[in-house]
C-alpha cells in the first residue's frame, strides 16, 4: 500500500513536470513574439526589448526552462500586467471565493448525485429512473454560463428573489465591517456571530451555487448509475438479499462500497469541470474568485495572469487526481 502511494506520488511529480513543460511551451515557444505577449498589446518597443531580456528570451531554450522552473518552485508566477502585483498573491486573494463554489458543487455531487445514481440504478426503467436519467443527460448538455444568465433573468429580474451577483450586497459592504479570518466569508461570518452578514452571504451564494452545481450532479449521477447497474447484477448482491439483509444495507453499503473506484474518479473529474466552469460563471455573478480573475485577464490580454491561473489549476487538478487514486487504492482487492 505504501509502495503504491509512493509510486503514485512519483508519477504525479513526473506529470507535474510535464505540465510545467507544456505551459512553458505555450508561453515561450508557440507565440510569435513571447516578449510582446508578456508585456501586453500597448507596450512600447523599449518595454518589449526589456521583457525579452527579463524573460531570458535570448538565452537558449533549456536555460530558459531552467529559470522558468526555478521561478515556479519559488512560487513566482510573475506579475500581472494590469495590476502590476505578483500573480501568486492575487491568486491567493481570489482563491477562497472560488473554493466556496467548488465546495458547494462537490457537496452537491456527492450528496445529491450519488444517491440519485443509486436509486436510479435500483429502480431501473421505472419512472424515477427515466426522470433521473433525463435530468442527468439534460443537465450536462447545458452551457453553464447560459444557465447563470437564465437564472439571473428568472430569479432576479422577474421574480426578484435572489440578488444579481456579488458575494454581499453593497449596502452591507459599505455599512458593516467584514470579518476576515480565513478568507472564507461564510465561515468567518458564522464564527464571529455576524448573522446578518452570514445570511446575506448565503442569499448571494444560492444562484451561483445552483449554476455551478448542476453539471457535477448530472455527471456523477450518470456515472454512479452505470457503475451500480453492473454491481447490482452481481451474485453477491443476490446472496446478500437471500440472507434477508435490508435493501438499505444492500444498496448503500454492500453495493456502493464496490463502486468507490469509479465514484471517486468521477467526483474528481467533476471537480475538474467545476474549476473550469468557475471561469465561465464567476464573471456573470461578479463573484470575486479565480474565475473572474482569469476572465478579465483574457479580455485584457494579461498573459502572465492567464499563465499563472493555468499552471495553478493544472497543478491542483493533478493533486486532486492523486488523492482520488489513493482512495481507489483503498479497495482491498487492489492492495493485494
Amino acid at each position: 500500500m505504501k509502495r503504491f502511494i509512493l509510486r503514485r506520488l512519483l508519477l504525479g511529480i513526473v506529470v507535474m513536470l510535464g505540465v510545467a513543460f507544456i505551459t512553458f511551451f505555450l508561453t515561450r515557444v508557440i507565440p510569435s513574439d513571447p516578449a510582446a505577449k508578456w508585456v501586453g498589446p500597448r507596450a512600447t518597443p523599449e518595454q518589449i526589448a526589456k521583457a525579452r531580456i527579463d524573460l531570458g528570451l535570448d538565452q537558449p531554450l533549456h536555460v530558459q526552462f531552467y529559470k522558468y522552473m526555478g521561478d515556479l518552485l519559488q512560487g513566482n508566477l510573475g506579475s500581472s500586467l494590469r495590476t502590476r502585483r505578483p500573480i501568486m498573491l492575487e491568486l491567493k486573494e481570489n482563491l477562497p471565493a472560488t473554493i466556496e463554489l467548488v465546495l458547494i458543487s462537490t457537496i452537491a455531487a456527492v450528496f445529491i448525485g450519488i444517491p440519485l445514481g443509486v436509486i436510479s440504478a435500483n429502480r431501473k426503467d421505472q419512472w424515477i429512473d427515466h426522470l433521473s436519467r433525463l435530468f442527468s443527460v439534460g443537465v450536462v448538455s447545458l452551457p453553464t454560463f447560459w444557465v447563470g444568465l437564465i437564472l439571473q433573468l428568472l430569479f432576479f429580474r422577474t421574480l426578484h428573489i435572489f440578488p444579481l451577483g456579488g458575494q454581499l450586497s453593497t449596502e452591507i459592504k459599505l455599512t458593516m465591517e467584514i470579518p476576515k479570518i480565513t478568507g472564507f466569508l461564510m465561515f468567518d461570518s458564522l464564527v464571529t456571530g455576524n448573522f446578518r452578514i452570514f445570511v446575506d452571504a448565503l442569499w448571494h451564494i444560492v444562484l451561483p451555487g445552483i449554476t455551478i452545481g448542476l453539471y457535477p450532479v448530472g455527471l456523477v449521477a450518470r456515472m454512479t448509475r452505470s457503475a451500480l447497474l453492473e454491481i447490482l447484477n452481481e451474485d453477491y448482491i443476490t446472496a446478500a438479499r437471500s440472507y434477508g439483509l435490508s435493501e438499505r444495507i444492500v444498496l448503500w453499503s454492500y453495493a456502493l462500497k464496490n463502486s468507490i473506484g469509479s465514484t471517486s474518479t468521477v467526483v474528481a473529474l467533476s471537480i475538474g469541470y467545476t474549476l473550469v466552469n468557475t471561469f465561465l460563471t464567476e464573471s456573470i455573478y461578479s463573484w470575486p474568485g479565480i474565475g473572474s480573475y482569469i476572465a478579465s485577464a483574457v479580455i485584457g490580454l494579461d498573459y502572465p495572469a492567464i499563465m499563472g491561473v493555468t499552471i495553478f489549476s493544472a497543478f491542483s487538478y493533478v493533486i486532486l487526481n492523486l488523492v482520488a487514486d489513493i482512495i481507489i487504492a483503498l479497495d482491498p482487492r487492489v492492495r493485494a
Partner: protein, 297 residues
Amino acid sequence: MQWLSDFTMTLQPSIREFRMSFYLLNRNRLQRISLIVIVLLVLVAVFAPFIAPYPGHAISDTNPDDKLQPPSTRYWFGTDELGRDMLSRVIYGTRISLQTALIAVGMALLIGVPLGAIAGGLGGVMDEIIMRITDVFLSFPPLLLAIAMSAFLGPNLRNAMLSIAISWWPWYTRIIRGQAVSIRERQFVRAARAIGTPKMSIIFKHILPNTFAPVIVQASMDIGGVILTIASLSFLGLGAQPPTPEWGLLISTSRTYFLNAWWYSTFPGIAIVITVLVFNLIGDGIREVLDPKTRRF
C-alpha cells in the same frame, strides 16, 4: 492503392456490426427523436442561406433602426443591438457549431489515432513514451488547456478548433492503444509478424482497421461536448469573434443587454442545449447498444 482495398476488406465485419447497431438504436423512442433532430440540424446547417429570413444579418448587414426588438412576426427571435435578426443568426450558428465540432474532432482523431496505434502496436519504449505524454495532457482539467492555448495562439475560431484538437487527442490515443494491445496478441497479427511483415505495415493494415469501432463511437459521443467547449471558448472571447454568429459569442454579447432583452440570451442558449442534448442522447444510445453485447435479452 492496394492498402486501401485491404483496409476496407478488414472493415467489413465491423461495418455489418454497425448496421445492426443502427437498427437497434431506433428501438428507443427518445433515440429515434434525437436522430431525427440531428438530421434536421444538419439540414438547417447546410441550407442556412435558404432557411434564414435575413441571411445578410448573419454575416455583415446591420439594421440599426430595429435594434433590440422583442420577438415579433417579423423577427421571430427578436433582434440584437445592431438590429440583426436573431433567428437568422442562430440558424447560421448551427452551421458554425456543427462544422467546427466536426473539424475539431476530426483533427483530434488524426493526431490521436495513429499515435495510439503506434503505441499499442509497437509496445516497448515507444508505448511508454507516448502513454506518458498522454498522461500529462490528460492531467489538465478539461477545457483548461484549450483556454490557455487559444489565449496564446490568438483568439479566433481556427485556433479554438486547433486548441480543442490538441486537448482532446489523448482520449482517443488511450482507446486505440488499448484496442491495439489486445489485437496485437491475436493470431493473425502474430502470423503476419512471423512472415516478417514490417511493423508499420502491420500496424496500419491489420491493427488499425480493427480498432476503429470504439473510437468512432467515442468521437460521436464527444461531438456534443465539443460544441459546448467551442461555445464556452467563444463566450470567454477566445473563439469566434464578432460578427460571427456563434452561439457562445451571441450569449456573451447578450450579457450587456439581456436584463432588458431576454430573447437575446435565451434563444442561442436553447439552440446549444437542444443540439448538445441530442448528440449526448445518441451517444448514450450508441454506448448502451454496444455495451450489453454480453447481456442481450
